[in-house]
């Protein structure tokens, strides 16, 4: 290397300051006028969105930009599908890729942390003074890949729908075979209920369902307790110190017993 990087950098910046002083244009008012126009456009866009949102919706009736608000928060409900604001969809969708409980932290902590460190450190590992995009092929390819992957994740997150009960019920024979309760009619009935009652919105079972809410995997829950315990638990989770899960006593005793039999028969398969 002919000359030290720091020295070349300082020479360039001295030249830059000289040029700006001699041939630059004043920030005020010329450059600031452009800034002000852009600022006004920003405000107008915000007003425009507010107007469309307000006049197209009515209370909880959604318009093109969604409702004014949904129903009041109700911790007891179980059928509400959680959705963050759209600019978190890319993180949200990562969770579907790393859905196994052991890998969830890759999506929630691992990838975001690596991305943040790479972003913060950019000026320190990309030290070449070259600024022209045509001469920075690695940077440009990395940028395009980042934009495309974030775009795809956001899009997938926006269009993702939770697995429907009607799809999950198709899996019951598979579960029955793997867990070995195919001959137990009561357990199979319980499995059907389990599939259609929204349990998998919070729990996971043999790789199905959503771990987003932090509820435990139930694939091998039958090793921990018996049916009678599960029936009591389902009827009143709060009694067992679980204040997140709502009561399922509305299903009725017969259904609860079927669910209990199913859960007891769930010993992890294999």
């Amino acid at each position: 290397m002919a000359r030290d990087l720091g020295e070349r950098n300082r020479e360039w910046f001295a030249r830059y300051k000289d040029d700006v002083k001699k041939e630059g244009k004043p920030f005020f008012p010329r450059a600031m006028l452009h800034d002000t126009i852009m600022g006004l456009v920003t405000i107008l866009v915000m007003i425009g969105l507010a107007v469309v949102w307000y006049y197209d919706a009515d209370g909880t009736e959604p318009g093109i930009l969604g409702p004014w608000y949904t129903e009041p928060a109700e911790p007891g409900t179980t059928d509400f599908i959680p959705r963050p604001d759209w600019y978190f969809y890319f993180l949200f969708y990562l969770l579907r890729i790393f859905e196994w409980p052991e890998t969830v932290f890759i999506a929630t902590v691992g990838i975001p942390t690596v991305a943040l460190v790479l972003l913060l450190g950019l000026p320190f590992y990309d030290r070449r003074p070259e600024r022209r995009p045509s001469r920075r092929p690695v940077a440009m390819v990395a940028a395009v890949l980042t934009v495309v992957s974030m775009g795809v994740l956001t899009w997938k997150g926006a269009t993702a729908t939770e697995a429907l009960g009607s799809e999950l019920i198709e899996l019951v024979p598979e579960w029955a075979e793997e867990q070995g309760f195919a001959d137990d009619e009561q357990a199979v009935a319980g499995a059907d209920l389990f599939a259609v009652s929204g349990c998998l919105n919070c729990h996971t079972y043999l790789g199905q369902g959503s771990a987003n809410l932090g509820a435990p995997d139930l694939s091998a829950v039958g090793r921990t307790n018996d049916a009678a315990y599960f029936v009591q638990y389902l009827a009143n989770p709060a009694q067992f110190g679980n204040t997140v899960m709502g009561s399922y006593s509305y299903l009725g005793q017969e259904n609860l017993e079927a669910l209990g039999a199913f859960l007891e028969a769930s010993k992890g398969g294999g």
Binding site: D19, V20, E23, T42, M46, L49, A73, P123, R135
Partner: protein, 269 residues
């Protein structure tokens, strides 16, 4: 005709300037403002370089609409016995459908959050494309990335406040996600939830984070960011033929490119 100032004009000028001089002598505020306003920028800067200012305006609009909302919003998850609805939810209903122009203020704040986040990303993309994060603007870039993170945190914490189903369940998920972090995870989740259950304490805590702590951090970071942009200036578009700092004599000069590097052979970043 030469301009001759009358005694009256001189008196007016003195009356206006004297207080400014008084302030400047003690604070340097006038010199500081002049330093900020009356500086040169490269003559070839582009419209893409107004995105940073637009982001600032979006934040200012969020601060203003947010302050107005705070005057009417009640951060309480208690059920109001007369309406049977949570107080926070009822106050959002009141702001949206009863307060004069409340819908506009809330709508601008709600959608302004999206506009702000989009502008943050666009501004960052422009800086990346222009290579403007390179020497000597490394700290400028770092404060910018921290502003992106704190800006997203504003969105995350503000989302809970309407206390509707969307808000509640998105936040339950968000808190549980924080809980998956190694070591600090459970502690973080416990802190964010403010107890074993997401309820009254959570709402008050998130309100404080959204209204005081995070905006304070954002404003401080913006201050540093603006100081640095004034001190270091903005770059010319890298493809400009008349860019500030170009090497004279050897047209489209690869500024500071390595000697002996064959043109187009990459080198990469």
């Amino acid at each position: 005709m030469a301009k001759v100032k009358t005694r009256r004009q001189l008196a007016v000028e003195t009356a206006v300037l004297a207080p400014l001089d008084w302030i400047d002598e003690r604070t340097g505020a006038v010199r500081g403002t002049k330093w900020f306003l009356f500086r040169n920028v490269p003559r070839d800067i582009s419209w893409a370089q107004t995105l940073g200012f637009a982001t600032l305006i979006a934040f200012a609009a969020q601060a203003l609409t947010g302050a107005i909302l705070a005057m009417y919003y009640k951060p309480s998850s208690e059920i109001d016995p007369t309406t049977g609805k949570p107080i926070a939810y009822a106050s959002i209903e009141h702001i949206t459908s009863e307060l004069t122009l409340g819908w506009l203020v809330r709508g601008m704040h709600r959608w302004g959050a999206s506009v702000f986040v989009i502008l943050l990303f666009l501004h960052m993309g422009r800086v990346f494309l222009f290579g403007a994060y390179k020497y000597p603007r490394e700290l400028q870039w770092i404060t910018g990335v921290l502003l992106l993170v704190t800006g997203m945190l504003m969105g995350f914490t503000g989302y809970l406040l309407p206390w509707d189903q969307t808000a509640y369940w998105a936040t339950v998920v968000g808190i549980n996600l924080n809980g998956t972090a190694p070591f600090a995870g459970p502690w973080l989740a416990q802190f964010l939830a403010g107890g074993p259950e997401i309820g009254a304490d959570t709402l008050a805590k998130w309100y404080a984070l959204h209204m005081l702590l995070i905006p304070g951090a954002v404003i401080a970071l913006i201050g540093v960011h603006l100081y640095l942009v004034t001190r270091l200036g903005v770059v010319s578009p890298p493809w400009s033929k008349e860019q500030a700092g170009r090497i004279r004599g050897e047209a489209p000069a690869p500024e500071g490119a390595r000697e002996g590097l064959v043109r187009g052979s990459g080198g990469g970043d």
